[in-house]
């Protein structure tokens, strides 16, 4: 009985998903920045990490991996931003995409992260968010709308990105 109910729920959910996706598709390519993010739940360093935990904060959502060179360069900067703006309601959420968790832990031992780290070794969240390169970061405002998408990480980008964070914090 429980199994049948579960299957029925699956079908319902699947149907809703289909309808939603069909309904949304004409707009899917027309919009970019301005889309609302949906929640995810992943394992973190201590317990689960849900994107909804940060509702009401400006979130810098970063997708990274241990083998990605520019990711290494971005960590000190993300530490700096988290320290500087956490009081103003700013949160860095860095999702690791290493297939092997050991590689991620070794990287974190050498590059400490003073911000929220989540692990998605199956690669479901980057697929959902449409990640096109490593690293990719999304700046999300307090109401859950995407303000900007940034591919790659170069030292020259730091100034511009910090400006965007400031305006997101000051704006709302």
């Amino acid at each position: 009985m429980i199994m049948k109910a579960f299957t029925l729920k699956k079908v319902k959910v699947g149907f809703i998903t289909l309808v939603l996706s069909l309904g949304m598709s004409p707009n899917a390519h027309a919009l970019g920045i301005g889309d609302k993010v949906a929640d995810f739940s992943l394992l973190g360093k201590q317990g689960p990490v849900k994107l909804s935990d940060s509702a009401g904060s400006v979130v810098y959502l970063d997708f990274w991996a241990s083998w990605c060179g520019p990711c290494r360069q971005s960590f000190p900067w993300m530490n700096e931003m988290q320290a500087k703006y956490s009081a103003k309601g700013f949160k860095v959420v860095a999702v690791n995409l290493d297939a092997r968790n050991d590689d991620a832990m070794k990287f974190l031992a050498q590059n400490p992260a003073n911000f929220t780290v989540a692990f998605d070794s199956k690669g479901q969240t980057p697929k959902a968010f449409g990640v096109k390169g490593m690293p990719t970061s999304f700046l999300i405002d307090k109401s859950g709308k995407i303000l900007s998408v940034h591919l790659g990480f170069k030292p020259a980008d730091k100034e511009e990105m910090e400006k965007q964070i400031l305006s997101a914090l000051g704006g709302n």
């Binding site: 949906a38 739940s41 909804s52 591919l151």
Partner: protein
């Protein structure tokens, strides 16, 4: 922020959450173009080469023709600096010194004085490349030079790459120009003339690099070269070559990573054909095996086979005597234009020293024999040719 009610934390629920998330959330368009970025670190490296070749008269026909030939000592430097994540500049510089001698024709005719001919000579060469990194491609402008007492070469090139959005397919294209000046008035030149010889070469390249899987990547390249000018070897007797040379090269390479041992095979095949009538096949294979404590070992194998040039004149009954060339429009008795095959083996060992330094040592040995080729009958009067080289290098990242 829309949120999917998660009844439990089982994997299935998370998948549902993600599915709904992907439906509810629209894929943001990549307004910031995908970054094809400059390397993160600068590199400086140097490498020393010691090369030696010799020939062995190991058949009845070539008995007594064994001889040590040429020795080369070289030192080269390379520096690469990324700039602002959008540019990089790379330069190399090399100095090499050649001693010993090469045969004047076929496998004989060594000069009495070993400092004559194209030997006892110091050569300097260098190149400079500037690369601009764009959203999905790169553009590299290069310039090169090579100078020795009797030969000067200048070149410039433009190379570019263009990738698809997924970066799984990359197209490469390039074009290069080279202009050489050859001093034909040196002491050891066979047919001296006051005016220098000139050679002009144009090349172009087209290639595709394709990611085949998480562990496979392949590349195919076609290169076309058109050159005209002085092709004859000034120091070789009996050497009069056509005044132009067109070449086409087709190369395919495949790298495969093995998850188990964490090693990588690197295979390549090259087919070459030119208007001199030369066709060749080259097969290269190497296996890169990382080892604990920052060591890495790479054994390698190479097989090469070439046909003879249309105008190659083989040895006669006595391989120590040159063959008459009367009545021939073009001719050469340079063994490098004969048909032969060659096998090489090599081994390279690398070690990481701390966070920034790397040291490497490589040994390679190659043997050419007239009957090891698959491109036609070789010249049995050419003795077996051996070459070996040791490279020692040091590199630092910044």
């Amino acid at each position: 922020m829309e949120s999917v009610p998660v009844k439990n934390t089982s994997k299935k629920s998370r998948v549902f959450g993600a599915l709904l998330a992907s439906a509810a959330m629209l894929l943001p368009s990549a307004k910031n173009a995908l970054a094809d970025a400059a390397p993160e670190q600068a590199v400086v490296s140097m490498k020393y080469l010691n090369y030696h070749d010799s020939q062995t008269g190991d058949t009845d026909l070539t008995a007594g023709m064994s001889k040590d030939r040429m020795t080369v000592n070289a030192l080269s430097f390379m520096g690469m600096v990324p700039i602002a994540g959008k540019w990089s500049v790379a330069a190399t510089f090399i100095e090499d010194s050649v001693t010993g001698a090469s045969p004047a024709y076929h496998g004989w005719g060594f000069p009495e004085d070993t400092t004559s001919g194209a030997s006892g000579d110091l050569r300097h060469a260098g190149d400079l490349n500037v690369t601009r990194y764009f959203s999905r491609g790169t553009l590299t402008l290069g310039t090169s030079y090579s100078q020795e007492s009797d030969y000067k070469s200048l070149g410039c090139s433009l190379n570019g790459t263009l990738s698809t959005e997924s970066r799984n397919t990359t197209f490469s294209f390039g074009t290069a120009f080279n202009s050489d000046t050859i001093d034909l008035n040196k002491e050891a030149v066979v047919h001296k003339q006051a005016d220098p010889g000139h050679k002009t070469v144009f090349s172009s390249l087209l290639g595709v690099t394709q990611v085949m899987s998480q562990n496979d990547i392949m590349q195919m390249t076609v290169t076309l070269t058109h050159g005209y000018g002085h092709y004859s070897d000034p120091y070789k007797n009996y050497d009069l070559r056509p005044g132009h040379r067109n070449m086409v090269t087709f190369m395919t390479r495949w790298n495969h990573h093995f998850d188990g041992p964490n090693g990588t095979t690197r295979l390549s095949y090259r087919y070459y054909s030119d208007s001199f009538g030369i066709q060749s096949h080259t097969l290269d294979a190497e296996y890169v095996q990382p080892l604990p404590k920052g060591w890495e070992i790479t054994p390698s194998l190479r097989y090469y086979s070439q046909s003879a040039a249309d105008f190659y004149v083989p040895t006669g009954d006595n391989p120590r005597d040159p063959t008459p060339v009367t009545g021939l429009e073009h001719y050469s008795e340079d063994q490098r234009l004969s048909a032969f095959g060659a096998f090489s083996y090599g081994i390279k060992v690398r070690k990481e020293l701390g966070r920034s330094w790397t040291a490497d040592v490589k040994y390679e040995h190659s043997e050419q024999r007239y009957n090891w080729g698959i491109n036609g009958k070789g010249d049995p009067g050419i003795p077996t040719f051996n070459m070996s080289a040791i490279q020692v290098g040091l590199s630092r990242k910044f």
